[in-house]
Symmetry: C2
Subunit: 251 residues, 2 copies
């Protein structure tokens, strides 16, 4: 069994529709490469009691939790004190981070707001990274990352080598133009029945020119089984009188 | 108090990183216009027991629930029977939808897989729409929409007039180039303190040319208070020696 993960996206700006989240897809892909199963994502508002309650729930249910958002210097950045509360530890200045930030800013610029970014749950380990001087942090099985995608990605890169790993997912895709799901459903269901441990998915697409088609994706931990299932999806497309093409359809 | 909503995104393809979700942002914006508060989003896999348990949880906690994904004709499209199970009702052929689909397909093409799309929880109301012949459906406070964005949007459009409404959110944004969050945090916190019922958010951005800045967003149900808070954020930017610009920063 691969380790499981949950992403907690913390941010009113996602729930209001102001901002299109792109962090989930990035983390999802990276976890898949590491053999970690992303089991759930939750998007919640910047509200103390909701963040604390949700953190307590998901960190008990999944092997690891990644949060994104809410670790900047402004009043709406409340993730760090909420994580401290969820773990029942003080939210306190982290001396090494404080010194690094102090050295970074010009004299007089390391104000109270910026000092908040050096204030972490006690016993947290900073996630230093190549992009921002203010770190993310890990405590227990919770990894707290920035919301800004470039910074989040740098933090994830820095964190990745220390994460527990499982068997990477193998995935193979075949697609066909002009083929509809309704025509292939019975055959695809048979392939799924032959490979109960794999995820066999069918994803209709529509190209910018309006031409439609469907992609058949075989996915799982057993590489040989995935390759066999993918061959079967290719043969199904051929059998239905369409031309199978390997990979994902171009956007 | 505005009515509350939850979106349940059902789909392995989002959790694996294969597909970038864009439905949450669309629904979020539409709900905001209707005065419905999007309180939570969950992304969960195509797994029967998880879908049923999550549905039972969120439909009790929020005034309405929107699901996206899993209503096509293939074996991995299990949302409809799961909704039936969550409501404790049979999953059964909906005669009117059956006849509409039967009339749509050429003779011999309305196969068992396609007939599944005419099978709904008993007492569900179909959400007919301008794009797909297969409908979404509503049962109780749960609205079941497609995963394909074009179809989902048509279903939402069709559904919107029947949704309960609240007070639409008023939102105003001012931004400044070259300004950093750490410099404005104290002033922004004061503005938030003067308007405890509003959400005052600060969102750093980075243009494609590398130039950075920050947007200050004032949001809430009291229009006059939002306008006053937005003026205060504009004055704060000026006071810090930067040039306020109205609206959201261009991408």
């Amino acid at each position: 069994m691969n380790p499981t993960a949950c992403i907690l996206v913390i941010g009113n700006e996602i729930l209001s529709g102001r901002t299109q989240d792109v962090n989930v897809q990035y983390i999802a892909r990276r976890l898949s490469e590491l053999g970690i199963t992303l089991s759930e994502v939750r998007i919640i508002p910047d509200r103390r009691e909701i963040i604390v309650t949700t953190l307590c729930d998901v960190r008990a249910r999944f092997d690891m939790v990644f949060t994104t958002g809410g670790i900047g210097p402004t009043h709406d950045d409340i993730t760090a004190p909420c994580v401290a509360e969820a773990f029942g530890v003080p939210w306190t200045v982290h001396p090494e981070t404080f010194r690094a930030l102090e050295a970074h800013f010009a004299p007089g610029e390391f104000n109270a707001a910026r000092q908040r970014m050096a204030t972490l749950p006690q016993e947290a380990t900073p996630i230093t990274n190549s992009v921002s001087i203010a770190p993310g942090f890990s405590i227990g099985n919770v990894h707290v990352l920035a919301g800004v995608p470039r910074i989040m990605q740098a933090m994830f890169d820095s964190l990745a080598p220390s994460l527990p790993r499982g068997t990477p997912v193998t995935s193979r895709s075949w697609y066909a133009l002009d083929l509809y799901e309704g025509a292939l459903a019975a055959g695809l269901s048979e392939i799924q029945d032959h490979h109960p441990d794999l995820d066999i998915g069918s994803y209709p697409f529509r190209r910018p020119d309006g031409r439609r088609g469907v992609a058949l994706v075989s996915k799982g931990l057993d590489r040989d089984a995935v390759l066999a299932a993918a061959e079967a999806t290719r043969d199904l497309i051929t059998h239905l009188g369409f031309t199978p093409q390997e990979g994902e359809p171009p956007p």
